[in-house]
Amino acid sequence: MTAAAAGPERHYRRLLLAYPRGYRRRHGAEILATLLDMAEAGDGRLTAGQTVHLVACGIRQRFRLPLRILPVVAALLAAVLIGGFGGVAGNWLAWRTAPAVPSVAEAKALTSAMTDLSGPQTESWQTAMNGPGINTRVEGAGTYDAERVRDALTADGWQIDTFTEVTRQIVVNFGTPEESVVPGLGLEFRATREGVSMTGGSDTVFFEDVTTLLALNMTTDVTGAIVPMTIAGLVLGALGGWMLSAAVAYRMRTGGRRLWATVAAVVAITAAAVPAFVAYCEIYEILVYDTDNPNQYITYSLAEPIPAYLVMISVPVAVLALAATMLLAARRSGPEPIPASS
C-alpha cells in the first residue's frame, strides 16, 4: 500500500465505524476494498454525498432486523422494556441537575433556629415526579415568636414570599373527658431559596404550659428539564432496545446456539416485564404531574402493590439473562478476513 492510499483507507475505516461491529467483521474488508476501488476510478476520493450515505447506511444497519416475525416482536418488546428504564434514568439524571434540598443536618439546624427547640425530626421523601423533598417537625415547650422564625429563615438565605400570623381555636385532649378548645396562634409561610421551595406552619397553644409545634416541608422546584429528559431517556432507551435486539438477531443469524439464546432472551424479556411496568407507572406519573399545584405531592400508582423485592430480584435476573443471550448468540469464531492494507 502506498502512502497516498493510506490516508483514504484510514478515512474509510473511520466511516465504517458507523456499522455495527459484527457487520464490520464480516463485511468491513470487502466494503473497504470497494470504496478504494471506487475512489481510484473517480477523482481519488468519495464525494460528500457518498460519504454521508455510507454513514447513514451504517447507522441504519444497526437497526436492521432479519425479515422474520420473531426478531421483530423481540425488538418491539425490547424497545418498550428498555424504553421504560431509559425514561426513569433520564428522569433521575434530570433531577441530578436540579438544586438539592437541604441536608438532614441543615434542615434540623434551621428548624431548631426557628423555634429554639432541640431534637427536630426529619423525613426525606420523593414527589410523584421523583423530586427530592424533606420534612421537619419539632414540638416542645416554648413561646410563639414570629420574628425568630423570620430571622432564622432570612439568616439561612431564604426569600420569604408570604408570612401570615393567624389566631386559631385549637382542640386539646381530643377524645378524652378533658377535651376542650383553647386559644392558639398560628403561623403560615412560604419561602424560596435557589430553586427550592418551602411551606411551613406553626401552632402555639396556650394551655397549661405554652407549647409550640412547627413543621416545614421543603421540595426542589420542578425544572424545565425534567419532562424533556424523561422523554429523551424513553426514546433513547427504546432505540437502544431495538439496536440491542438487532445485534442479537444478527449474531444469531450468523451462528451461535440459537435455541439456548432464544430461551435466554425470553427469560430476559419476561424478567424485565415487572420492573418495566413499574418504570412506566413512574413515567406516567411524571408526565401527568400537575406542575401548577402550589404544593408538591405524591400519588399512588398501579405499581404500588408490587413488592419491592420482586423488582430487586427481576432486574439482576433480566441483566444476567441478557448477558447470557449475547454470549450464546455470539458468532462462532471463523477465519479473519484479510485486511485491505496487508
Binding site: E30, A33, D37, Q50, H53, Q61, R253, S342
Partner: protein, 113 residues
C-alpha cells in the same frame, strides 16, 4: 422487485462479481441511469443473501484488498427470470396500448391506410 435489486441480480446473472464489479455492471446495464452507492450495495447484498437469492462465491486478495465475489443462486435466477417475464408482459401491454392511442388529427399508430 425494486429496480436496483433487479439490476444487481442481472449483473450477477452471467458470472460472479465483487462489490465494485457489481457497481460498474449496474451502471453499464442501466446506461448510467443507476449508480449504486456502497451503502446501498452492501445493504442489498445482505438482504438478498438473507432471502437466498445470492450467496458468497469466493474471496480473493488482490493488491492487499479483499474482494468477495457473489453469485446468483438457483432461487435468485428463478426470481430474476420471473421478474423478466413480468416486465416483458408489462412492456408488451404498454406497447400495445401506445399503438392503439388515439391522437386527434392523426391516424392510429400501426394502422394501415
Amino acid at each position: 422487485m425494486q429496480e436496483p435489486t433487479f439490476l444487481i441480480l442481472t449483473a450477477l446473472a452471467e458470472e460472479p462479481l465483487h462489490g465494485y464489479g457489481v457497481i460498474r455492471a449496474v451502471q453499464e446495464l442501466s446506461q448510467g441511469d443507476v449508480v449504486l452507492r456502497p451503502g446501498t450495495l452492501y445493504g442489498a447484498f445482505d438482504r438478498l443473501t438473507e432471502q437466498g437469492l445470492i450467496e458468497a462465491d469466493r474471496e480473493e486478495a488482490v493488491d492487499g484488498r479483499l474482494r468477495r465475489y457473489y453469485r446468483l443462486t438457483d432461487s435468485g435466477a428463478t426470481a430474476l427470470a420471473t421478474q423478466v417475464e413480468r416486465l416483458r408482459r408489462h412492456a408488451d401491454s404498454a406497447e400495445a396500448r401506445l399503438r392503439g392511442r388515439i391522437v386527434p388529427g392523426f391516424p392510429r399508430l400501426g394502422t394501415a391506410q
